[in-house]
């Protein structure tokens, strides 16, 4: 089974984020980056399926010049080869979906795995858009995936329970947090990954126009949290909740 996984390079979620003074975006100069954690989970699941059923796992990274660092990490986890679509700056979700759609024409995988969303902009769009463009079935927010023949049974956590979907392959699955715990790459795999191929592609090669449809007008930090307040009794608390907070 051939599986394609998309991996995005994102700002490290543990870093303290600062907005640029002009509000045009995030201060990236002293920022560290890593692979989107949901994409890491997606790669792990793809690798487990490959280890079980055989096949190939391809990691596709769409982004600027540094993206291959993240693709290489996927290769050191055990993926077989990588594709880097160099877009210079990060494209919006729609452009990513259209680039992936073109890639899938070239690669013709049996299954596409994506992280449910990238933790930098949290759009949660690509899997759904891609399914729409290709007309493929989708199963988003997977917490368990079983491949049986030409079908995938996907469990997803919903409010109050687990919903199980069955989709035909080829199809698109996006990974949720509890799908698995990604492996820590072992050293021989890291060494091996250094020699694996990462193919370089540009949006122009694929014939995709990446002019953004979504433009960020302004970014601002949320107001700082103020300290709590001690109230004298329940009556005062109820009064404040009603009049100041207006929640009851």
């Amino acid at each position: 089974m051939k599986i394609l996984v998309a991996a995005k390079r994102v700002t490290d979620p543990d870093m303290v984020i600062k907005v640029k003074p002009d509000g045009s975006g995030i201060e990236l100069s002293s920022m560290s980056f890593k692979m989107n954690p949901f994409d890491e989970i997606a790669i792990e699941e793809a690798l487990r399926i490959k280890e079980d059923k055989g096949g190939e796992v391809v990691v596709a990274g769409i982004g600027g010049d540094k993206t291959p660092t993240e693709i290489r990490y996927g290769l050191s986890m055990g993926a077989d080869r990588g594709i880097h679509v160099n877009t210079g700056v990060d494209p919006d979700s729609d452009a990513v979906a259209r680039i992936l759609a073109k890639l899938l024409e070239m690669e013709t995988p049996d299954l596409v795995f994506l992280g449910k969303q990238a933790i930098d902009v949290d759009d949660n769009q690509v899997a759904q858009l891609l399914a729409e463009y290709l007309g493929w079935p989708q199963a988003c927010f997977a917490s368990r995936v079983d491949i049986e023949g030409n079908k995938a049974r996907v469990a997803r956590e919903v409010d109050g329970g687990i919903e199980v979907k069955e989709i035909d392959l080829p199809g698109i699955i996006s990974a949720d947090l509890r799908l698995n715990e990604p492996r820590y790459p072992a050293l021989p795999a890291i060494m091996k990954a250094k020699k694996k191929e990462i193919k370089q592609v540009t949006p122009a090669d694929l014939g995709v126009d990446i002019t953004p449809k979504v433009v960020i007008r302004k970014m601002a930090e949320p107001p700082r949290r103020k300290g709590g307040r001690l109230v004298a009794d329940v009556a005062e608390l109820v009064k404040l909740l009603r009049e100041e907070a207006r929640v009851i």
């Binding site: 543990d14 002293s30 920022m31 890593k34 820590y184 072992a186």
Partner: protein, 690 residues
């Protein structure tokens, strides 16, 4: 005596021994290479100091047991010459080595031999008494050990019988002038009515002769199969000991394509480790003070070496064949044979994972082993295999490794907040600490470390140290957000690859900034910069803050000190990486005594035998689910001194012991502080800041 029988005894005795030795040593040739013959003179010095000098046997707790060993060891060295004489006399009556004739060393030797025979018998007696009545907990109490003592004792008795009867048979034997033991035996025999003419005398003489030789040769042939094999291997093992400072781990070369990334199989250890396994005499000095062993963890450094040795012996038939194949057909054939092993794996099998992860790398075992076996290095080799090759480690460490990778600190806290302590320092009224970018020329880099930057409790030490340096006018810079982890914890967790990534990054940065001298308050960073960075081609002058503060006080640079604010006596807890590994024992104590009103008390386990806080070897970032807690144990030991303040000089010790104090609900009774904080609080000069 009968030359024919003596010859047969010699041929059979030495023939069997040669076979046994080949069986033990040839398999070591399939283990990893290790060059150990550099610096022959200092090595010979080690053999004299630790071997002949028995340096590690006369320790504070141990002198009684040590004395027994010294008597037996020195005695055996002298008495063995006599055994050579006895063998010779099987062929030629009265034979002796050159210069041992009656007009040379003979009389002196006869006296020395008797004296040392007595020493060996006394030593055996003491050791026997120890093992039967004292039963020290550190030791393994096997019948084997007692059998060996009786065996050695019997050899001495047989020799005594031999010389006593000789003197009865040859009444004018010249040795009688000095051989007091033989004369005593002669008189005893005479008193019981034996004469030279009595056939019983000749018979007893033969019993003495053959008894001595048979016991000696059987003992020699028993050696390779028991703990007493250290009689053969220990002096070579001491000569071939590692000459690196005790606190350093071997550097792995990731450029080398054939390099192994850790030890998963016994043959992946260096052959010297194999020799050490044979050398272990099961004395248990390593575990006498092992924090893991004493708190109920499955790790005992002695057990570790013994289990490895058993495994080595189990694998000997295969390694024997592989060693022969290596000679005849080359390394590939040898490797292919070793692949056929179907027994348990070494890492995670013979040595279980819980054993491997229990070690705090405190180094007590290494610094107390009389044969200088490097238990910690064994553990790290095994960890390296588990982490780097199999990606198998306690799951908590995943977070830690990721933290180092992404944020360059074990907690994974935002690396762009690493320098926040400097803002907090400014809020106390202290001047700003410059960054090398703003101050290209500086004397010292004050390297703060991960705990110094991120741990709330320990940050106070960082700030205190910075204030003291400022007050003394020391020209120093700090790296703030640009600082990276030194690599210590990743290295000791077995993740050498990650550690070298951090080390190389630091080296490059230090190089660009022109760093030459480093001050650090963390003994782990201190040890890494001082002893491990030179492996990567850079040597810095590294100063621990206790040394620095001691010197500053000595020079009067800190001005007068106010009285110590805490109450009750103060005990200093020796951090492993400061004390045991780097032998800085005095500077911290001198600082404490410079603060007026401090009454310093000492813990029973201190200095070289200090007890670990439980935080080293990346243990700080792992759960401690087996046995009792190491930090609690240490806290009790320190409380037993009656101290109301624990002074220390290490972030791990501070955090671990502070946790123990809080867990026990003793926060009101006993306080813990770094020496820098103690001095900082006593500074008269600081007044205007606060």
């Amino acid at each position: 005596m009968n030359p024919f029988l003596t010859a047969i005894l010699l041929i059979v005795g030495f023939g069997l021994l040669a076979w046994s030795l080949a069986r033990r040593f040839l398999p070591l040739t399939v283990m990893q290479q290790d060059i150990r013959w550099d610096a022959p003179l200092p090595r010979a010095g080690d053999v004299i100091k630790y071997g002949l000098g028995q340096f590690r046997f006369l320790q504070r707790f141990e002198w009684f047991h040590g004395l027994a060993h010294i008597l037996i060891f020195w005695g055996a060295l002298v008495v063995t010459i006599n055994t050579i004489h006895v063998i010779g006399r099987g062929f030629v009556p009265g034979w002796h080595l050159p210069f041992f004739g009656h007009d040379h060393l003979g009389p002196a030797y006869a006296f020395a031999k008797d004296l040392f025979t007595l020493a060996v018998m006394t030593g055996c007696g003491l050791a026997f008494y120890n093992r039967v009545f004292n039963r020290p907990a550190r030791m393994l109490h096997t019948p084997e050990a007692l059998i060996i003592l009786v065996w050695i004792f019997s050899m001495m008795l047989m020799d005594w019988l031999y010389s006593s009867t000789l003197f009865v048979l040859v009444p004018d034997h010249p040795e009688q002038q000095t051989s007091f033991l033989g004369v005593l035996g002669r008189e005893m025999l005479a008193a019981s009515g034996l004469t030279a003419a009595d056939p019983m005398t000749a018979r007893l003489h033969a019993v003495g002769f053959w008894g001595h030789l048979l016991l000696a040769f059987s003992f020699l042939n028993y050696l390779p199969y028991c703990k007493q094999f250290h009689e053969v291997t220990s002096l070579p093992a001491l000569f071939l000991r590692s000459r690196k400072p005790a606190g350093t781990l071997a550097r792995q070369d990731f450029e080398d394509e054939d390099a192994i990334f850790g030890v998963g199989k016994i043959e992946e250890f260096s052959w010297k480790r194999g020799l050490d396994m044979y050398s272990c005499a099961e004395c248990g000095r390593c575990q006498a003070n092992c924090p893991a062993h004493l708190t109920g963890k499955p790790l005992s450094p002695m057990r570790l070496i013994m289990d490895e040795r058993e495994h080595l012996k189990d694998k000997t038939p295969l390694m024997w064949r592989a060693a022969l194949a290596r000679r005849r057909e080359g390394p590939e054939a040898s490797a292919a044979l070793l692949e056929q092993w179907e027994g348990p794996a070494l890492a995670g099998g013979v040595i279980e994972e819980d054993v491997i992860w229990s070690c705090t790398t405190c180094g007590h075992c290494i610094t107390n082993c009389p044969l200088m076996i490097e238990h910690v290095d064994h553990i790290i080799d095994l960890r390296r295999y588990l982490v780097q090759v199999e990606s198998r480690f306690p799951k908590e460490l995943r977070q830690t490794f990721k933290g180092f990778e992404n944020m360059s600190n074990p907690w994974g806290l935002a690396s762009n907040t690493r320098g926040d302590w400097m803002a907090a320092l400014s809020e106390t009224g202290a001047p700003a600490v410059p960054h090398p970018e703003n101050k290209p020329r500086f004397d010292y880099l004050f390297y703060v470390g991960c705990a110094g930057s991120f741990d709330d409790r320990y940050r106070k030490t960082t700030m205190a140290t910075a204030r003291l340096l400022q007050a003394a006018g020391v020209d120093f810079v700090c790296l703030g957000n640009d600082e990276m982890c030194c690599g210590e914890t990743a290295r000791r967790a077995g993740n050498e690859y990650l550690a070298q990534h951090l080390i190389n990054f630091n080296l490059e940065m230090f190089d660009t900034m022109g760093v030459k001298k480093i001050i650090t308050a963390c003994p782990h960073c201190f040890n890494t910069f001082k002893n491990e960075y030179p492996q990567f081609g850079k040597t810095f002058e590294v100063i621990h803050h206790t040394e620095m503060i001691r010197d500053l006080i000595g020079k009067g640079a800190l001005g007068p000190l106010r009285s110590f604010a805490g109450n009750g006596p103060v005990v200093f807890h020796d951090p492993c990486y400061l004390g045991r590994y780097n032998r800085i024992y005095d500077a911290p104590r001198e600082i404490a005594q410079c603060v007026p009103g401090v009454r310093l008390v000492e813990a029973e386990r201190r200095k070289r035998i200090s007890f670990c806080c439980g935080g080293g070897g990346a243990r700080m970032w792992m759960e401690e689910n087996i046995g009792t807690r190491i930090n609690a144990e240490r806290c009790d030991q320190l409380r037993a001194t009656g101290a109301k303040t624990i002074a220390t000089a290490c972030p791990y010790c501070m955090i671990m012991l502070d946790d123990a104090i809080k867990d026990k609900g003793l926060a009101d009774e006993i306080k813990i502080m770094d020496l820098a904080q103690m001095v900082d609080a006593a500074m008269v000069k600081h007044k205007k800041h606060k």
